[in-house]
Amino acid sequence: MVFIRTIIAIFLLVFTALLALPAGAQEDDSALRQAISGLGAEKGYSKLRQAIDVVVETGDPRGARVLDALAEGDVYRREGDGAVFIVSGRGKERNLIDPVTSEQVGTIAKSELKKVRVNNSVRRTVRDAIGALTLGAKDPDIRLSAVRTMIDNPDPDSLDVIATALEREGDDDVRTALEQARAAAILLSDAAVPDKVAAIETIREMGGQEALSLLVRARNAAGAEMRDATEAAIASVQKRLQYWSLGQNVWYGLSLGSVLLLAAIGLAITFGVMGVINMAHGEMVMLGAYTTFMVQEIMRTSFPGMLDWSLPIALPLAFLVAGSVGFAMERGVIRLLYGRPLETLLATWGISLILQQTVRTIFGPTNREVSNPSYMSGAFQLGELSITWNRLWIVVFALVVFAVLLYAMNRTSLGLKMRAVTQNRRMAAAMGIRTPWVDALTFALGSGIAGIAGVALSQIDNVSPNLGQGYIIDSFMVVVFGGVGNLWGTLIGAFSLGIANKFLEPFAGAVLGKILVLVFIILFIQKRPRGLFALKGRAVEA
């Protein structure tokens, strides 16, 4: 994925470089070439940073491409003559790309190349340098990201550059960003007080974590006359951030709640509806996650272009795999233990250990890598809230699964039979329902849903044999709290526990937060033994 991103970045840079190529560029080649060759010449990171500055001083946008490749670790020095190249490809033979013309100039054995090593400080230098080089790019998005780096790392020396850029700039978004960058730079410069006050106002309007960071830095640097104005601006930004942090907690709570819901919803059927204490529930989730891993491996080796489709393909497969294991479990073991909860508990516990060790034997004890497809990577900004795509998709997915399950239980014939059997087994049998098969199918459905949850959880958690263990307690907690036998209770229970947990966490810490939630549930169950939404009527006593 990073590879693709790099390709896109390089493509954009090349594109802008080509557009920005002035008519008389040919004769500048030697200067740029010389500057670039400096990248491979020096030893040590501080020398390398100086060499980067030399490239920046050429002012040639094509330099940005080399620097970007450098930050990605694609720049190599040829052992023989010390010439610097961008290198692509994997394996023993690598492609040499000329850093100036971007044309492929041949291939070379890997052993003849020496990588130009970079560390974090070099990457920082590169990032700032690319900002400076791409400020004049044609694409407003590239200009915008260049300006954003300037806001993050304000430098009073860049005020002139910003002023020239502002004169030329036509795009409104970039103009606003440039003005913010100017304000940030003014705050750290020795400008007059009125200028600085105006700058503080601009930054205050910008708002957010970044503005706070800039203002705090300005306060530490500012003299006494500026202190009050900065403090006021800081207070105002902080107040806004506080509201947003409330929203953030709610969102995190919903997101945790959706994970709990996914983990628990299968159990809401096997334990909630059927009353089987299924300790192997977590392992069904794990099987789903491993199915995802298998699907992704096959996609990776056979259909690399369709990697993004691996999750939709894994969903039905995970349902089938976990569902059939559940079916086999019900037919083979649990069927014989109905009405003996303690034995069921022990037997399913044993099955969970068997499943774990089987997976460990087949796939090894180490974590397996399941990568996020592109639509589930990264985050987007909603005001001051940064919402990660994978969490958003999981919330949506959990609700969809819930809706489908609710429909299946209430509107389909299988759902009707399930409810009939759990409410009054003998009556249902008398009506001609084959109760043993309904039991098996219900258990398979619950297990299959757990498998689907595994597909989603593989995106945020480890795919290891222990995956399921982490969720089993939480799942029981949610089902018991929500009310056994009630899907809506599971939904409300999952989200309220998620939100409660996330509001406690910032104050109490993750460990104590969880303890407090558990204590709360214990007290709650004392008061209402049947959970939030208790089933009423005769069915309960059956």
Binding site: M1, N120, R124, E369, S386, D461, N462, N466
Partner: protein, 443 residues
């Protein structure tokens, strides 16, 4: 010539075969020396410990190819304590009493080590412990080949302070004895260095924690105070993957807020898409990417032994490599496998490590090691960005904690693991056992 070479090859192959059969043979003969391997092969810790069992089997096989030890073949006795701390003690007892092993290589978590300590003391056998740990311990029967805090945590913090100019610190850890003790030492160290208390936050999460949203948002917020911020992570095991995923998703880059980890090695990275992690740091005493002949040979042998070119090597494996070679040398020097004689012979033993230096066993039962800081690369390997010029001797009792500053471990002259230099007396077992018990139950 060719034929001779081929013949020789056959003999070597034969030797290997006999060695393997001897190892796996149930009817162990009297002329073998038994070596115990006490690593979890099932349960939560199997993820880390299985590799160490394989590494030990490889080392023993190689020693047998070289002709064994004291004219006898070595025989590995593998047991599975199943990540169950009390079971570690039972299995250790079984290894020593029933199988009569000459030494045991094993344990990973500090709780498992604490749980076997009384067994080794009672039956007077030897344990080689290969994992970086929190220090504050020195036992007569235990040889610590992993890093003490001064061989890992302190140099890493120094690097961040000097090279990255870090002024604000987040100490993020899993809630158990190793992170808590390490963070206690680090916090004191940072305060001594003049870091203001409000520039440090310490946070703990449970084992296997997977919902890092709040923690990462907090780190982000803490890092936006206009001072360079870094995270020192003692997050252990499975919790690391979701932690790094969340960092990447919330857009925290290593250039902005670097994370230096003490429990993340090549093995752990094998389960993560490392692209977004490039530039985050880890501090160890060995990386697979270290370039020298011994290491290249070791990696080649490892790939041949496991039959898998993708298997990585890591720091605790190197610790076992050093520990095993030290034990072999000490046995040869003592001329017997009798634990008492070997324990006496071990301090002062020198063997080459895999980073190009020579590690020495110190009188406090810790060893000298180089400290390497590496940045995560896209291929899941580390690139060394800093290395100590000389080997750092392991310090059993931290100099940065007031209660342990005055303590000294020396099993050669003082014959004591916790000698109080102020009171000039050996505190003995009582003083050592108390914190150990308390920590063991907390897990």
């Amino acid at each position: 010539m060719n034929r001779i070479a081929r013949k020789f090859g056959f003999i070597a192959l034969g030797a290997t075969l006999t060695a393997t059969t001897a190892m796996t043979s149930a009817h162990a003969q009297d002329e073998t020396i038994k070596v115990g391997i006490l690593h979890s092969l099932s349960g939560t810790m199997a993820i880390s410990e299985t590799t160490l069992k394989d590494a030990m089997l490889m080392l023993i096989e190689q020693q047998n190819e070289k002709g064994g030890l004291l004219g006898k073949k070595l025989e590995a006795v593998v047991v599975d304590p199943a990540s169950d701390w009390p079971l570690f003690a039972e299995k250790a007892r079984q290894l020593i009493e029933q199988d009569k092993v000459a030494a045991v290589f094993g344990c990973w978590t500090s709780v498992s080590r604490k749980s076997v300590l009384p067994v080794f003391a009672e039956l007077n056998n030897i344990l080689f412990y290969p994992v970086q740990y929190e220090g504050e311990e020195s036992e007569k029967n235990v040889f610590y080949t992993g890093a003490a805090p001064n061989q890992q945590a302190i140099p890493a913090v120094d690097y961040l302070m000097e090279e990255e100019g870090v002024e604000r610190w987040v100490l993020e850890g899993t809630d158990y004895v190793y992170p808590r003790t390490t963070n206690k030492i680090l916090e004191q160290y940072l305060l001594d260095k003049g870091v203001a208390p409000e520039d440090i936050i310490v946070n703990y999460t449970p084992f296997g924690f997977s919902d890092w949203q709040t923690e990462v948002a907090r780190i982000k917020e803490f890092g936006s105070a206009g001072k360079k911020t870094a995270v020192v992570s003692t997050v252990n095991g499975d919790a690391n993957v979701p932690f790094y995923k969340e960092l990447a998703n919330q857009g925290i880059k290593a250039e902005d807020i670097p994370v230096v980890a003490f429990s993340v090695g090549e093995e752990e990275l094998a389960g993560i898409d490392t692209g977004p992690l490039v530039g985050h740091l880890a501090a160890w005493n060995y990386f697979q990417s270290v370039e020298n002949e011994d290491n290249a040979k070791f990696i080649e042998q490892w790939h041949a032994f496991t039959g898998d070119e993708d298997r990585v090597t890591n720091d605790p494996m190197e610790a076992h490599y050093i520990g095993f070679n030290m034990w072999v040398k000490a046995v040869e020097k003592a001329g017997t496998t009798d634990p008492e004689a070997v324990i006496a012979a071990l301090p002062g033993t020198e063997v080459p490590n895999l980073t190009g230096g020579t590690s020495t066993m110190l009188p406090n039962h810790h060893i000298t090691k180089p400290v390497l800081i590496g940045e995560i690369q896209e291929d899941g390997q580390f690139e060394v960005v800093s290395e100590t010029e000389e080997l750092v001797p392991g310090d059993a009792w931290s100099d940065f904690l007031p209660e342990s500053k005055k303590l000294k471990a020396d099993w050669v002259d003082l014959k004591c693991g916790n000698y109080d230099t102020e009171a000039e007396k050996c505190l003995g077992e009582t003083a050592m056992a108390e914190p150990a018990e308390e920590e063991a139950t907390s897990n």
